[in-house]
């Protein structure tokens, strides 16, 4: 009787789970550019909605700063800390993909996996 139909939310979650399963990333989220949480796969001690709002603010500020330099568009924001690394990039016009990883994780590999995931998200969101 069950229709084998996944909701958009389930699909977005699956993209994030696959991303986390690559081993380089331990938390990830899809956030609208205006700061709303769309989906996340995060440890429960992280306040995901605050994280979403702040990430969108961070990316917005970075993009504005960058465009003021008239050097084209900002591709991604990378924040490196002693205990974690946060990477945010666009996933279509309306959304951002954000991940958190170990500071020693392989950046190139993460970016590659994130590019793939963000392309999927862009298609799933239909824009």
């Amino acid at each position: 009787m069950m229709e084998g139909k996944l909701t958009l939310r389930d699909m977005l979650k699956k993209v994030l789970m696959d991303l986390n399963a690559t081993g380089e990333v331990y938390a990830s989220a899809i956030v609208s550019r205006n700061g709303l949480l769309m989906a996340c796969e995060m440890p429960s001690d992280i306040d995901s909605r605050t994280f979403a709002a702040m990430t969108a603010t961070m990316v917005g500020a970075a993009e504005t700063a960058f465009s003021e330099l008239k050097k084209g568009v900002a591709e991604r924001v990378i924040v490196e800390g002693r205990e974690a690394k946060i990477i945010a990039m666009g996933a279509g016009k309306k959304a951002l993909l954000v991940t958190m990883s170990d500071p020693r994780a392989n950046l190139g590999l993460i970016l590659l996996e994130m590019e793939k995931a963000s392309e999927k998200i862009r298609k799933l969101l239909g824009r």
Binding site: S32, N34, G35, L37, T50, A53, M54, T57, A61
Partner: protein, 390 residues
Amino acid sequence: MRKSTGIPVLDDMLRGGLEDGSTTVLYHTPFINGALFAYHICHHRLKSGDSVIYFTNTKRIFTIMEDAERFGWDMREYREIGRLSFIDAYTPFMGLSGEGRYAVSDPTNPEEITSVLARALEEHESGSLLVIDSLSTALDQCGVEVLDKLEDWGRLVTLYDASLLCVFADWGYESQIRMRIEDFFENMIELTSIERNVIIGDIFTVRKVEGEVVESKRVPFKLMRPGGVRIYIPKILVTGPFHAGKTSVVHALSTRAVSVDRESTTVALDFGHVEFEGFYADLFGTTGQQRFDPILEQLGGEAIAVILVVDSTKPETFPRAIEMLRKARAYGLPCIVFANKQDLPNALSPEEVRAKLGFGEEVPVVGTVATTGEGVREGLRILLNTIFGG
């Protein structure tokens, strides 16, 4: 007598709650846990002194008790004093003996289900709540004959002044089945998901009240642990000119807030979670300085409502307030004005602030002192009323 469901806004939509002798279906898509709505209502009724009879064919009783407890509803005590009774139609289906006070030995037999329901109602005081979790599983197990029994169940609850609440997960049944469900129940609460633009969430709405088909609001909700069903507003924008007191408003309203600020000026965003009378909202407080307008434009999108904070002693900043509303694309959303800094000697009254802003009567204006919290909760209450009330 109407009895509250304990879920804010829903009671109003149901014209006060669920009436004794009434029949209600909680119709939901499979991806939403409809039973949690039922637990919320059960716990509220138990707390209010009523009895609850819970028929389960989907889970073991201890699973229900544990699930409920995770949401903050400890129902053990009520079970011990006999105000909460279970009818177990789940373990017998697996070939085990029933675990509740009542058991249905053959859950595929609608006759037996009906007679056990009758016995349970007979043995509980009148005014109790009878929950069937779930009718869709009963339909799968018994076939459509179980729907023929609905009339009998309706008569039973009338007789015992109980109210019937059936959980029904729509796994994609034929349209006749949905029509029969819609026809039979006097009240119909529907839970679905929305995927509109970047808003992805769950909503409830009421399709039928007292046998009458109605068009109701679609109310977004979240299931909080603890707390249960909470009306959830993903974004209320708090905006206004520089130094109007936006950060103080966000902090005064929030149970938990974070700010990105430098020397008492917000440079990026104040973000706060608000828990208020069964509502749950996230506040986005923008920065007031003009040079941060690109961020305001970006973060303003998709707001559900706006709190415009102005400094009542500085009418010269009011045009800037209007400009900020426009930049945040928030013009035309439900809005309330906080005429802040009412404690200062030369503050304009809320009415004067309204006049100077050029707003009509439809925009409420409240006087506030954000630093002490005066007026802010009242203002939020008015705003929530504008969104969900009347």
